[in-house]
């Protein structure tokens, strides 16, 4: 028993558990033909949560090890400039429609989520945590904090939204007959932030680059727009 306590207290173990679980679930997902329903992120975090609950480990203890992966989100966000630059010519030609699509998408995302949740009597804390759900985690956490929601709930809802986006997008593209890589990537970035962007890279580097652009634009725009929208809807 004492050994186990000592063992789990080591941050390194949670780092190893996280990476191993992710490699295993990615392999499993590929074997199943890459279905987004069993997205490696969702399966990994479910398995890790179950494992933490079974071993009676707190999230804080887990995060001591996992923070080293979490930290890489920063440089990875900066690195999005590279594929963006590679496709800069294309971005320049479409700049105005991209800005319009991003603003319309971001407002649709926040307003429709708030209205549906409000209609179903969700608590105010939940509402304010749902509002930034289409925005990349680090921005969503900042927004939820400012509005008075729960930052860690917001970051969880952001991830679930990401998975939902990856599940719905291919079907919606088929129905609407969307074939352009740039459109597919950008739409995934607006609606499903970093997870959508990661998924868009599977369509190709250009889709990924547009996803990254969309993620950055949507995040920045939502950070300014949401406080106005929340007071307009009379929440909080």
């Amino acid at each position: 028993m004492e050994f186990w306590v000592f063992f789990t207290a080591k941050p390194l173990m949670w780092l190893i558990v996280t990476i191993m679980t992710f490699i295993a679930t990615s392999w499993f997902n590929r074997r199943l033909g890459g279905t987004p329903l069993l997205h490696p992120v969702l399966v990994s975090l479910s398995l890790i949560i179950v494992f933490l609950l079974l071993t009676g480990t707190s999230y804080e203890t887990y995060f001591e090890g996992a923070q080293f992966i979490h930290f890489l989100l920063g440089p990875a966000t900066v690195a999005l400039a590279v594929p963006l630059f590679d496709h800069f010519e294309r971005v320049k030609k479409m700049l105005l429609p991209l800005i319009v699509a991003c603003m319309a998408g971001a407002i649709t995302a926040a307003a429709s989520a708030l209205l549906v949740a409000q209609a179903l009597d969700a608590s105010v804390g939940t509402l304010l945590s749902i509002a930034p759900k289409s925005v990349t985690s680090p921005i969503a956490i900042g927004i939820a904090e400012k509005l008075g929601g729960y930052p860690s709930l917001a970051s969880g809802l952001v991830l679930i939204t990401g998975a939902i986006g990856c599940v719905l997008a291919p079907a919606i593209y088929r129905i609407l007959n969307i074939t352009d890589e740039a459109v597919k990537g950008f739409t995934l970035g607006v609606s499903a932030h970093g997870m959508g962007t990661a998924y868009a890279f599977e369509y190709g580097l250009m889709a990924g680059a547009f996803g990254g652009l969309a993620m950055g634009m949507t995040g920045a725009f939502t950070a300014f727009m949401l406080p106005l929208l929340v007071s307009l809807l009379g929440i909080g």
Binding site: I19, S26, H39, P40, V41, L42, L45, I48, L52, Y59, Y62, Q67, H70, L72, G74, P75, A76, V78, A79, A81, V82, F85, F88, M94, P97, V100, A101, C102, G105, T108, A111, S112, A113, V116, A117, L120, D121, A122, S123, T126, I130, K133, S134, P138, I139, I143, Y150, S152, L153, L157, L168, I172, D180, T187, V190, S191, G194, F201, G216, A223
Partner: protein, 139 residues
Amino acid sequence: MPGLKLYGFGCESEYVGANVLIGFLILLIFQFAGELIVIAIGMPVPGPVVGMVLLLIGLILKGEVPECLRIPSEALLKHLALLFVPAGVGLMTHFGLLKQDWLAILLALIVSTALTIVVTALILNPSAKKLHNLNQDNS
């Protein structure tokens, strides 16, 4: 990679190992610059996003992506999905709220995500098509 010469962004070193390290350092420095700007101006935008914009401006001025920057950047982006797992596990601290509001949360997320995809794609698709036609006319 012998014989590979790399210029600019300080990655002239001959050794690929050192180059990749320099590339990673460049990413961190741009992130740091982004964080500083956010604090200085008091913007509600996260530092890495500002860092990304700064790096993009740098690359546009330079006109190309140095190999030493491309290697660590593409390696990070290839594994982007993994980086979301630690934050996602944080959901376990909110089981109470989730139990109480789960239906509202689930419906709100599904409906609004579907609407967002439809609205964004429909606005963007016509101009992408126009661009395709233009490219075909030119060639």
